[in-house]
């Protein structure tokens, strides 16, 4: 178990290094491009060259990456090319906004997906067809279109929720709830559609296994079989579904923040990319990767504690 943990940790670190380096090389590789886009259209080649030196882009790539990495470890992700703001400071304002939408969305997705998936797998019939139908529709329609539809219905037609904006939980909890409800719903549709379907498959796989047949043959009733044995064994694939959902929520949040004008990290990345504010974009990429890796790590950990085979070692 401990060995597995260490292996996982090393692997995650490997992924983090590979992705940040790839991102870094991609973005910082084009020094003159960055400099001229920072300076704008009227820049002369000389001023571009000067800017390259000023931003430190003339040094070898590996040196730049090493610099970035060593300061990133201490929490210093550099400064914005434009506003001079600390990237870490900007992120500390933006990341909580995104998380305050996707963490409730993740929790609700897990809950609803499990309920729907279990009902569909166990009951079959109408509820099963509904889940199948919903999972096709929900995954097909892009979440920003669902978001727009929600804005239409609940912010413009019936003015129940605000169409845009964000209120921090600390400022006014009720307003916070109102401001994240529609964004969360928009994310929820697609996530539940995928999650319920996958959880249904996990349940069906377990329900069809040999030991469930044997338990039935021994005279155990259906309910304890499902709630004690099947759910317990479907939990591991279920956790994998949850960690994959987190990935899709992080991606989806980028669009949702655009629709609802939420000041989250997705918008930060989009806005920074439009003006080639490379350190800022790099920072959001890194934070996203770290969040994904942490979630995967925790999910792996839980799966291992659930599995008696892994627990022993």
């Amino acid at each position: 178990m401990l060995l597995n943990l260490m292996k996982n940790l090393l692997r995650s670190l490997g992924v983090l290094l590979v992705t940040t380096f790839a991102g870094f090389a991609l973005m910082f590789g084009n020094a003159t491009g960055i400099a001229s886009s920072v300076l704008g259209i009227g820049a002369t080649p000389e001023s571009v060259q000067a800017k390259v030196v000023e931003l430190g882009l003339d040094r070898p790539l590996l040196v730049q990456y090493w610099d970035w990495l060593t300061s990133a470890v201490t929490g210093d992700l550099g400064r914005s090319f434009y506003t001079g703001q600390q990237v870490s400071e900007a992120l500390s304002q933006r990341v909580p906004v995104t998380l305050s939408v996707i963490i409730p969305a993740l929790a609700l997705t897990a809950l609803i997906s499990v309920l729907l998936g279990v009902a569909a797998a166990v009951r079959g019939g109408g509820i099963d067809r509904f889940v199948q139908f919903f999972s096709v529709g929900g995954t097909a329609i892009p979440n920003f279109i669902i978001a727009i539809a929600l804005v239409f219905a609940f912010a413009i037609h019936w003015r129940i929720f605000p169409a845009t904006g964000y209120v921090a939980f600390g400022d006014d909890p009720w307003q916070w709830v109102l401001s994240i409800t529609l964004p969360m719903l928009a994310l929820l549709v697609g996530a539940v559609a995928g999650g319920a379907q996958q959880f249904r498959t996990a349940m069906l796989d377990t329900l069809g296994s040999d030991y469930v047949r044997t338990l039935r043959a021994r005279g155990m009733k259906e309910q304890p079989i499902i709630f004690q044995h099947v759910l317990r064994n479907a939990a591991a694939p279920g956790l994998t579904v949850v960690s994959l959902t987190m990935l899709s929520l992080l991606g989806g949040a980028v669009f949702i923040e655009q629709v609802f004008a939420l000041p989250g990290m997705g918008r930060l990345a989009t806005d920074a990319a439009k003006i080639s504010d490379v350190p800022m974009v790099m920072g959001t990429v890194m934070v996203t990767v770290v969040i994904v890796l942490v979630i995967n790590f925790v999910a792996d950990l839980l799966i291992q504690t659930l599995n008696p085979k892994a627990r022993m070692r």
Partner: protein, 593 residues
């Protein structure tokens, strides 16, 4: 898998036509195909179909409602015709899905082929990279890319293609690994075909169906990401794409709310139809892979139809004789079991079989695999797979039919009829200790205290030859051997003192030495407790060793039933003679070795 390889013998073109015909028969798939073809057509002939260029503005048409004169879907905030822009926009959509599909298929399939065929270090590295790519939200990387390239749709779509190539990689790699191990690939190697030709001829053939199916999902994802990027403002604002239209109409949502409807509708429908097309394709191309549970109403109709079909048939006209008398414990009468086919019909696998088990009798049920013997065994316990349909007949326990009385059947499980499965390991729940699952099962059948159940089970485990029973009770299934697991399962079956045990190939999965021990245990238990037993097996040696009576099953029918000695001395049916002869020749071969 098998469907892909079976098709190889038939003419490729004929197969393609058959697939197309089946697709068109499915109404949803037909509509989806028409829609997709329509989008392609419009993109190809946009200059002819549109009344003006994509950016032709007519200030008078600004925010015009739909169905206005000359502007069928109205105008947008800048006075451009919405229908024209949709027509022009289909071009960037089609370009996006082309690039995404070509890049992802090319990258994913080639790497998957190489990794699956040659394995080794390439596979290790590729697997790691795939894990890396799949653990990132693609859109964040595309945004990062934008910082570098600015609005450049083709490059963004190519990169997105690389980001979803891992789906193809995984798909192809796993198929190639399994195809590679199949005999015909070995044969091709021996004959001296080069790797390239083997890949081209055998491997590519096996992976083509899954690739086609996956590609329609890839196209759907491509449309979504193209629209999404444009919606974020990361597209080229001067071009006309559905995503750009969505973004621009979203900014003027208060002035002209209807305008946003059209791009939303077109994007959603195109994605939806591609996904439905993919589902339909996988139904058609891989139909053999799944057997669906029939809806209740269809199921009832099928049973009624099957019963109507047999009235007056010889099976029904000649009532099966009840052998001897009231010491018959369990009797199966005219049992018929079927499974739904993908075309809506039913394949019958047991065609009216009879079987009588007397008290204390060990009754062998022999036959080749697929003859329906396990189906008979499962139906006595009501543990047939979910999609199975009982088309007729009865299972009488003490004269009461269990098939029509599900409550009685449930009560009979464990208490009257016990079950010993074939695969010992997969029949124990991996998440619970042996003790916990045995105690639970016993208490479900016979209410008693946990301590009493525990004590009883420890005693039984010792009886079947497990020495440190207390310790074994605290172990998880993966910590014990197959032979021990089978003893545990036998205990699970007899703990609740049933009258009859249904044993489904109880020794097939075990080592030869352990097989003999397990058979000895079964015989001993039967004698001690007067247990009757249905022993399903294809091994005539086991039958000769253990059984009192034998029924021979073939193609869903009992073809011969006799005392074990009589059967071995003078088999009546030709099929039984063949079965005996072939098993003797196997024995001879074993001796010669």
């Amino acid at each position: 898998m098998t469907s892909a390889t079976d098709n190889r013998t038939t003419d490729g073109r004929a197969v393609r036509f058959a697939v197309l015909r089946k697709l068109v028969k499915n109404p949803i798939a037909a509509v989806a195909l028409v829609w997709f073809a329509g989008v392609l057509f419009i993109a190809a002939f946009a200059p002819l179909l549109a009344t003006g260029g994509p950016n032709l503005t007519d200030l008078g048409a600004a925010n015009l409602p739909p169905f206005s004169d000359g502007h069928f879907l109205g105008g947008d905030a800048a006075g451009r015709d919405i229908l024209d822009r949709l027509i022009w926009g289909s071009r960037s959509t089609v370009m996006a899905i082309l690039i995404v599909t070509v890049v992802s298929v090319a990258a994913g399939v080639t790497t998957g082929l190489i990794a699956g065929f040659y394995r080794g270090r390439f596979e290790t590295i590729a697997n790691f990279l795939v894990d890396v790519v799949m653990s990132l939200p693609g859109i964040v990387l595309l945004i990062a890319l934008y910082a570098l390239t600015g609005p450049n749709l083709p490059v963004a779509m190519a990169v997105f293609g690389l980001l979803i190539a891992p789906t193809y990689y995984r798909l192809v790699r796993s198929i190639v690994v399994s195809v590679r191990n199949e005999l015909y690939v070995d044969a091709a190697r021996v004959v001296g075909l080069s790797d390239l030709r083997i890949v081209g001829r055998h491997v590519l053939w096996a992976v083509r169906a899954p690739i086609i199916i996956q590609s329609s999902f890839t196209m759907a994802a491509g449309i979504g990401i193209e629209a999404g990027m444009s919606f974020l403002g990361l597209g080229d604002p001067t071009s006309s794409s559905w995503g750009i239209m969505l973004q621009q109409s979203f900014t003027s949502i208060y002035n002209n709310p209807v305008a946003i409807l059209w791009p939303s509708l077109v994007i959603s429908l195109t994605v939806l139809f591609l996904i439905l097309l993919g589902n339909a394709l996988s139904d058609v191309l891989q139909s053999s892979a799944r057997s669906k549970v029939m809806p209740r109403r269809k199921r009832r109709a099928a049973v009624a139809e099957a019963q109507a079909a047999i009235t007056g048939s010889p099976v029904d006209a000649e009532p099966a004789e009840l052998s001897s008398s009231d010491d018959v414990l369990l009797s199966i009468r005219a049992l018929r079991v079927g499974y739904p086919r993908s075309d809506g019909g039913i394949t019958e696998v047991v065609h009216g079989a009879d079987l009588d088990i007397r008290r204390g009798e060990i009754h062998g049920l022999v036959g080749e695999s697929g003859s329906g013997k396990s189906q008979m065994a499962f139906s006595t316990l009501g543990i047939l797979p979910k999609e199975a349909i009982i088309l007729g007949g009865s299972v009488l326990l003490d004269g009461h039919d269990l098939l029509t009385d599900s409550k009685r059947q449930r009560e009979a499980r464990g208490t009257r009829i016990g079950y010993v499965p074939q695969e010992p390991m997969s029949n124990l729940d991996p998440s619970f200790t042996i003790g916990r699952q045995l105690v639970k099962g016993l208490r479900a059948a016979r209410p008693m205290s946990k301590a009493a159940a525990h004590a009883k089970l420890v005693g039984l485990l010792e009886r079947v030859g497990i020495r440190d029973a207390e310790r074994v009770m605290s172990l998880y299934p993966h910590e014990i051997s197959g032979g021990m697991a089978q003893r545990v399962l036998i205990c699970g079956a007899i703990a609740s003192d049933p009258d009859i045990i249904v044993a489904d190939e109880p020794t097939t999965a075990l080592d030869v030495t352990i097989q003999a021990e397990v058979l000895e245990i079964l015989r001993g238990l039967s004698e001690e407790r007067g247990l009757a037993m249905i022993l399903v097996t294809h091994n005539l040696g086991v039958v000769a060793d253990l059984c009192d009576t034998v029924s021979v099953m073939k193609d869903g029918l009992i073809v011969e039933k006799a005392d074990v000695d009589a059967l071995f001395e003078s088999p009546r049916e030709a099929y039984t003679q063949n079965l005996l002869a072939s098993s003797r020749s196997v024995e001879l071969m074993e001796i010669e070795q």
